[in-house]
């Protein structure tokens, strides 16, 4: 079983829809959870950063972490064509070390105008 599982898609939805993106993971030592957005031929850019379980909202984006189920989600409200990109979940262990991130494979999202 891979450490982080993420459906690669593509996921195609009409403009204005609510989008739900998800990742599951197997290692309970992960404490920090992130969502990155990556446009074609660009580097990943951080969207959301959360610690442990709970919800975090930023504009049209909401990140949820359920550590008991080892499941994280990103919701996008009022989706726009400019949201079309690949969304990568990422996570790392706790502690003060310089651990690299463990990434999912990414979900390719297409918002149809």
């Amino acid at each position: 079983q891979k450490e982080v599982e993420q459906d690669p898609g593509p996921l195609s939805v009409p403009e204005g829809a609510i989008v739900s993106l998800n990742c599951t993971y197997s290692n309970s030592a992960f404490q920090y959870f992130m969502w990155y957005r990556q446009y074609s031929r660009k580097g990943p850019e951080l969207l959301m950063y959360t610690y442990s379980s709970g919800n975090k909202e930023d504009g049209r984006f909401t990140a949820q972490v359920d550590k008991s189920s080892k499941y994280i989600s990103l919701f996008i409200r009022d989706s726009q064509p400019s949201d079309s990109a690949t969304y990568l979940c990422a996570m790392r262990y706790s502690g003060g070390g310089a651990d690299g991130l463990t990434f999912g494979k990414g979900t390719h999202l297409i918002i149809q105008p």
Partner: protein, 112 residues
Amino acid sequence: NAGVTQTPKFRILKIGQSMTLQCTQDMNHNYMYWYRQDPGMGLKLIYYSVGAGITDKGEVPNGYNVSRSTTEDFPLRLELAAPSQTSVYFCASSDRAKNIQYFGAGTRLSVL
């Protein structure tokens, strides 16, 4: 407002050639990272550094070398390039406090 800068953006190598991928950051971050991203795959950590003079291996270090002589620069060296090293390479940096990683635009490398 440069952030993390990678050069070159594209490169084609022949099997057995060597090259250095350059990465520099202007955010005074202690931590720097090299990842590779293959089609349909997530990013895999190659090497990382916690400060000048200190480097360590990540998940996929074979065939690569790094050095960190300054806080700003973290070059990645490919010796004896192989087709398996065809990939997109991303450099990232983060501060010690929150360890939020900021990525460069990537270097697309083909080994033929």
